[in-house]
Amino acid sequence: MAGDGLTISREEEEEEEERSLAPLPSSGRHHRRKSSASAASRDGFPNPAHVRHLSRTETERLASSQRELADSNSRIVFIGDPGGSDPRFETPRNSIRTAKYSPITFLPRNLFEQFRRLSYIYFLAIVILNQLPQLAVFGRGASALPLAFVLLVTAVKDAYEDWRRHRSDRIENNRAASVLDPQSGRFLSKRWKEVRVGEVLKVLANESIPCDMVLLATSDPTGVAYIQTINLDGESNLKTRYAKQETMSRPPGEDHPVDSAGVIRCEQPNRNIYGFLGNMEVDGKRVSLGPANIILRGCELKNTAWVIGVAVYTGSETKVMLNSSGAPSKRSRLETRMNRETLLLSAILIALCSVVAICNGIWLGNHSDDLELAQFFRKRDYSDGDDKKYNYSGIGTQVFFAFLMSVIVFQIMIPISLYISMELVRLGQAYFMVRDANLYDESSNSRFQCRALNINEDLGQIKYVFSDKTGTLTENKMEFQCASIRGVDYSGGRVSSRDNGEAHYILAAGKQILKPKMSVKTDPELVRLLKNKGDTEQGKRAREFFLALACCNTIVPLVVDTSDPKQKLIDYQGESPDEQALAYAAASYGFVLIERTSGHIIIDVLGNRQRYDVLGLHEFDSDRKRMSVIVCGPDKTINLFVKGADNSMFGIIQNKVDLSMIDATKANLHAYSSLGLRTLVVGMRELSRKEFEEWQSAYENANTSLMGRGKLLRAVASNVERELHILGASGIEDKLQEGVPEAIESMRQAGIKVWVLTGDKQETAISIGFSCKLLTEAMTQIVINCNSEESCRNKLQDAVAMYRKFAVISPDPFENALTGTGSTKVSMALIIDGISLVYILKTKLEEELFKVATACDVVLCCRVAPLQKAGIVSLIKSRTDDMTLAIGDGANDVSMIQTADVGIGISGQEGRQAVMASDFAMGQFRFLVPLLLVHGHWNYQRMAYMILYNFYRNAVFVFILFWYVLYTAYTLTTAITEWSTVLYSIVYTALPTIVVGVLDKDLSRKTLMKYPQLYRSGQRDERYNLKLFTLTMMDAVWQSVATFYIPYLAYRQSTVDVSSLGDLWILAVVILVNIHLATDVFRWYWITHVAVWGCIGATLICVIIIDCIWTLPGYWAIFKIMGTGLFWLCLLGVIVAGMLPHFSVKALKEYLMPSDIQIAREMDKFRRINAATMEIQMNRFSMLQL
């Protein structure tokens, strides 16, 4: 296993507490979405509830629980013999299929998916009702039209998306791979989709890997291959993978026919991209296989001429395919609220229908004697000679039918088109968010990503932001800052300027100059110490310290050409940015790692090239929280170098050391972490020959064992890592991302509470809190870090008492907490650590914590495990109505991202899992500000208005129908033609609301960014609430009264026919609702003009077309009535009378009770001129001065 390296990964470091924190609060996990559970259950993983959103540690744990690979549960692959592969399991070909539908299954499956929406069932039921001859209100075609239209639009959209997937599948499946032909022993070209499990493939440099393969041989004599996994997990660093020496020696191919090839036993396919377990039998020998021996589909081969491997997982079973799951489906809060109003509308609908049905019954009762002879009723049918009732079966049945018919007639009270409009509007909003140049991240070349399409408007109502620290607030680009060696602090590099002599080493090998790609500011004193005083104790320790940094890692140095042919750069590739920073630091101080093979490394020590044999490497794991290497130096001494977290390291130091040195080191460590630096402690021990041999045999045993290998290796490591000399400690700066303090300040002003949840130490967390302006000196810090439930309770009670005390000083703390301003009151910050959270979450103390936390302005949680992050999010989610947003970049944030109402992934340095689990993804933390304050605000405002408007628009129409029904003996006749009824919500009035929903802006971007407080209107639900709904509905009733009764009274006792009056009504209502929209539009673009006025024109054209069909009773009516003056007077009167209350109330309210948004709009419009003039004056002034 030499050189077999997973390294200290940063996530693991952050999650190091996790195991000790059991029992974990598993809150956020089980009640999460169904989709994840169902997705997970597909993959054959033994514990489906677990799998999907696991952090790396968790998956590791899962993998380790499976270490014992049972034969019955393993896949057997015969190398080079696809036919002979495990007969028990059918393995798929390597073709992939991301498309959902085939041409045959499209119709049924798509319909099935669409009808999972409850509202569609409602509309379908109505269509079916209408087909009954007794109830046929509309013609068959007309009644089915709206539903068919909505289904068709969605189906076309789905079909287009699926066609694109088909196309990309086809391209992917037809790529060429070279596959070993067992007969000829040559590699022949085959299509990807034809590759089968067991076949041997050859992949050349820069090619994509067609399926998951176990490496057999590489072009590198030591069996190393480098792959880039950016498509898989987003990490851009090259990863090293190894072919086993056993197969390396004789790769299958030209001179080695495959008949002697071996057998691989491996796990069943699963979605854990960081785990693989298997073994290979070659020539009777069993070789174990781990994650470092497999290369996965989706990766690219880099810096390696070729590799040969055997396919073990193909097609849909590859890890990348198992991991590709669609965006999770969430439902926006506005939509949830909307459902409440939909229920209210249903109640109104039922009330209207009941009124109609009851009145119908009363009318029939009063006229029961007349019905026989009344010409318009004709109860009896004499046509066939015999006397029977015509279409009449008693009052009760008639009432029942009247009820059902009125449901059919008034159905659009529940706006069917709203659902499709909302989808289109969100699509448009997403388009603009993705295209926004302000959300484009230059450094990672990534645009904003909208992964979830149905919660755009939630972005405008966020109250709590839960942020990860590393990689989210900070850049996750590590820079070595200070070293403490034997308790002496060397942080001169931190303060000195960059050019302190040519301290960083440039190595001249022959004529070539080798230079590390990045240099670190060095401490001059330390440099001097290293150069001159190699013989003092301090100098010796310093050398050993940097030697440890140079060799105790898994960094792969790559020599890279530059434009200058004489100069070459050394680029350190590794999975952990901390290790890279340490290696660059060592290089700057003269300990340059130049070459790594699987057996040895070459280090240039202050100008001398030295070879160190790497005898063993103990990977980082979260139990030990350290890693170690055993190297044999040029002087044949065998040294153990260890680096790890401070608390894990101080537990294994030599007993009889200088305690003052340890204390000094600890003091330095404390100082570093208060500066916000990440610290590591480095130690070493010289192994005696005997010790080494003991270790070696144990190590070999452990390494070749098939059962519980991980555990055994860990035991071996713990056994040898003891009695260390502490060499020193390092401090690495994790730089803040650009604009983070400003972003946090903006959000604070916007009334958004930012909570930071990090795996870092308390000191580090607090110092980062200060540097990003989250914490200020003026704040009172409440720190809770306890080891028992009892002390937690006490601390919490103290905290409650404290905020009560402050509450006395400032009269209304909760009000303050709600408005989120902290100008005059004493602001508090809560700092709590993961261990305390174990005692608090899921116990009675949770309520207390909630009280304290919401009273505080800032909450910092440190040392928290991934699931605790989710637990904190659900603490807020379950207790308040406030919207939560979680933002993070690593696998450890996945659970939090999925628990929060809105999850945002940072597509940065760490893997892509956060992005895969998120609803939105972007490049930088600071983009949160434009995203929430600008796009969120717009989206919320637009969507809220659109929903209300749709309700209003359909209600006006339904009420008009209702008023007319009162004058038809309650028999559900509609004056408006059935086609117009049907087209009303999908053609006559649909487009303007969509255009406004996509384009309208109440405020400019500049204003919204300048006054973050404007965001609070969304938090206060100002744009969509029951009061607004009620007002809108009252307006709708008034407008329907005006629309109906003005023509009714004007045409009372006249010769007007039903079609003409119907045409007047439909035109009046369409113009009225469009004008209503027009008065509410904030910004008129040319597109808005086209949509609003175009829609009125389209309506007129439609009405004219309908009236040109001679088979309809209304033939020519529109021309007749448009020729009369009364028509135009009615139309004008309806519009003015209808708009009068809306317009007056709007004008009055905007003037007397202006909302913040209204004032900001006025500033937008009027103050800009002032600002411009002021600028001119300023310019003049400065010119005068010049």
Binding site: A205, N445, L558, Y967, T1055, R1083, W1084, G1133, P1154, A1160
Partner: protein, 348 residues
């Protein structure tokens, strides 16, 4: 070690890895949502101007409409009760009207209140007759009316689709219930001619009712609903039917009966001889005879004029009210000191 650096390094290390294209969104005013736009704000000036403008437009229209309506001379005479002699029970009336053997001629007199200039429109008005009743309004077949070949197409005409086994033309309840009272007007001994041509829509005559479709098997059923039709006149010339088949929007409606094309002087007494055939007694419907001149607004209806005057007046009032509000409570538009977080800093 940032991403792009890693990208370059591996790129230059390889033979020819193309540099990744930039994903930067292309700038356009559209995608950045910065299209030029008009941002209307309801400033006091705007609000007051809008209200004043509406007032200025609506009040003259209202006055004109009201004048037009007052200039219309209208004579309305209800005759359904007067034309039944004696006893007033409903059963009696229904029996009376259904009895074919009684001569239902009845004379009423009308006094002309004012000079009436031709054309004077003659209407009959029915009250409580639900021509928009669902059962009724659907009971017709437009194809049959237009096309001679579709005589057998009586779908939708229930229950008046066929009689004695053969289809009815025109079928359906609407045609069946054709109004059949007739009026003869005379002043003194001089007959007033009523022109019954051109009372229906030309579009109906030309395109909706076929000129080669003749009534067939009409009013042959057990129950007679109304008028019979001349089997030798094509439907396109049966104007009473065409008028009747334009179903009315409301339960109280008028239908054109004809036009009187001569002057009527004030205080002229017109004698109308009515054949009171149509049965509205069964459902307590009223029958009225209406003579009316017309204006540019149609018949006599003060409503639209009053509405316009009301709206106009209200708008003037609102204009004044808003002016008052603006004067009493002046507010500088766009003054940041009105922002909620600036307004009451002491409140927190």
């Amino acid at each position: 070690m940032n991403n792009s650096a890693a990208g370059t390094s591996s790129g230059s290390g390889d033979v020819s890895a193309p540099r990744r294209n930039s994903n930067r969104p292309k700038y356009s005013r559209f995608t950045q949502q910065e299209l030029p736009a008009c941002k209307p704000i309801l400033t006091p000036r705007w609000v007051i101007s809008v209200f004043t403008l509406i007032g200025v437009i609506f009040i003259p229209i209202g006055i004109a409409a009201l004048r037009a309506s007052t200039n219309v001379v209208e004579i309305v005479k209800r005759y359904d009760a007067d034309c039944i002699p004696g006893n007033n029970t409903k059963a009696y009336k229904v029996a009376y009207i259904q009895d074919k053997n009684i001569d239902k001629t009845c004379n009423i007199t009308l006094r002309v209140p004012k000079d009436m200039d031709p054309p004077i429109y003659v209407y009959y008005q029915l009250d409580n007759f639900y021509q928009n009743h669902r059962r009724y309004v659907k009971s017709r077949n437009d194809a049959q009316l237009k096309d001679r070949g579709k005589a057998n197409d009586t779908s939708g005409c229930d229950p008046e689709d066929a009689s004695n086994g053969s289809p009815i033309v025109p079928c359906g309840l609407i045609a069946w219930s054709l109004f059949n009272d007739t009026y003869n007007f005379s002043i003194g001994n001089q007959n007033l001619t009523v022109n019954k041509r051109g009372i229906s829509w030309k579009s109906d005559r030309d395109h909706k009712f076929g000129n080669d479709v003749f009534p067939r098997n009409f009013q042959n059923g057990t129950l007679i609903g109304g008028a019979s039709l001349d089997e030798n006149t094509p439907l396109s010339q049966q104007e009473d039917l065409i008028v009747w088949m334009r179903t009315a929007a409301l339960p109280t409606f008028r239908k054109s009966y004809g036009k009187i094309e001569q002057n009527l002087r004030e205080n002229d007494t017109i004698t109308v001889t009515i054949k009171n055939n149509y049965n509205t007694y069964s459902f307590s419907g009223k029958k009225k005879l209406v003579l009316s001149t017309s204006s540019w607004l149609g018949g006599k209806n003060d409503f639209i004029g009053i509405t316009y005057l009301t709206i106009g007046g209200l708008c003037f009032f609102l204009a004044i009210a808003f002016t008052g509000v603006y004067l009493v409570k002046p507010r500088k538009l766009g003054d940041p000191s009105y922002l909620s977080w600036n307004r009451n800093p002491s409140g927190r």
